[in-house]
Symmetry: C2
Subunit: 234 residues, 2 copies
DNA sequence: TATATTTTTATGTCTATACATAAAAGCAGG
DNA sequence: CCTGCTTTTATGTATAGACATAAAAATATA
């Protein structure tokens, strides 16, 4: 039944504890028994109970403090954890056909607003790209991207007609920091045309910036076709 | 220096491993040494190395499979983890003043579209609420909420003039499942008026549905004032 | 040769024990 | 009563060793 002998695994303990929290047997703000007491109750060891409680705390159900003990969080700050997907993967996983197309590619001086966003010191040049991502041959996402040339010189040798900049960067360049933001924007004529939308349509927009140890690498704006919805369940 | 004797802690090991991944000493798709070999290198134990690698896998950097070993993920599917905040908390944490106001409160029969969304069997009545959330006395969010009366009978005894339904529910009712989705919608006249926006403005919108063990509890639509941006860094 | 079976192996987990450490609680001395 | 020191205690982490298990690799069988 259970794993080792016949005792409860840390997963079993997580289940039981979570159940008690959800049934309010252990009410919000109340203190749980100590690990030793719980280990005793479940005829397990402190190590195993520790793992169960530690993970439940990471998941946002409990708060733990040395000496103070383990407390049930009143407002479960449940952490919506969702993976930032690569466009292509997202489309393929939905069982649709992915197609990519490069719209524009040019090397330009870094715009001042971008320089400010990225906190690049001196003036640099960037590779500017516009691309389209299709799902079943209908417009899915319009991507506008800036790649800092100094951080990714090999980008200049890539024409990006076959591979999208997102996928290329993931393969070629490591990054250490990432900032993602989501917002709603209004389709201007340019974007509307690509996304087969009407001028003024509300567009779900993602912005991503990545750095490699304080050195800015790339900034992207992803405009999704009208009707797009980002969903997580937990 | 380190915690116990002078060996590396699991955190130290995580740091070193992550560094090697980011510096591509261990390239994407390559296989890491086994836990035993690493434990040897770091003069630690397999248990400690295991924890380090396990956590890095959870964070999306590694993929682990029994017998097959531990592999560096090519496209770091880095998991954007952000807490689903309570509106009030979000505003207060930004150092602004929070104000709440009830707009409408009525008990109605469950609309058929909602019945479908929630997968409620029989016809039920719901408590329908419209509320406003202000930050520094400027409109921040317009909330439209349906609470399934059978799941939360005590909601009928609450007038929601002092406390917002989100906060009230978090205190009163546990839930087991949550679905959140984000999208861009267009402000209609009603919404635009409350948010001090223009008709047709793009509105960042969140939808939340919660269940308690297959029993639907509530559904909410949160319309944010123009310019709102949801950001995470990782 | 193709397929079933066995072996091997890396990760997954549990146990028992020890030491580390933050912070609450108790206790002193003023 | 307050302030600073000491004790206690619950969690945090490391260790050594064992068994569990999925799946790759090797081997046997049809």
């Amino acid at each position: 039944m259970a794993t080792q002998r016949d005792n409860m695994s840390y997963k079993d303990i997580k289940r039981v504890v979570l159940d008690r929290i959800q049934k309010r047997i252990w009410a919000p703000d109340s203190l749980l028994p100590s690990e030793i007491e719980l280990a005793d109750e479940f005829s397990s060891t402190r190590t195993t109970v520790n793992r169960a409680l530690r993970e439940l705390a990471e998941e946002g159900f409990l708060e733990r403090k040395r000496k103070a003990g383990t407390r049930v969080l009143n407002a479960p700050l449940r952490k919506a954890q969702f993976t930032i997907p690569q466009v292509g993967d997202e489309i393929v996983e939905a069982g649709r056909t992915y197609r990519y197309s490069l719209v524009k590619r040019e090397v330009i001086d870094i715009p001042s607003w971008l320089s400010a966003t990225l906190a690049t010191g001196s003036a640099q040049s960037v590779l500017y790209l516009e691309c389209m991502h299709f799902a079943d041959n209908t417009p899915f996402q319009f991507e506008v991207r800036w790649i800092v040339v100094d951080s990714a010189p090999s980008a200049l040798d890539t024409d990006f007609t076959q591979i999208g900049p997102g996928a290329w960067l993931a393969q070629e360049l490591p990054f250490t920091d990432l900032e993602v933001s989501f917002s709603a924007s209004k389709a201007d004529k340019h974007i509307a045309e690509f996304l087969d939308a009407r001028d003024g349509d509300p567009i779900f927009t993602t912005q991503r910036t990545t750095w490699l140890r304080a050195q800015p690498v790339t900034h992207a704006r992803l405009y999704f076709a009208p009707g797009y919805k980002m969903t997580t369940r937990l």
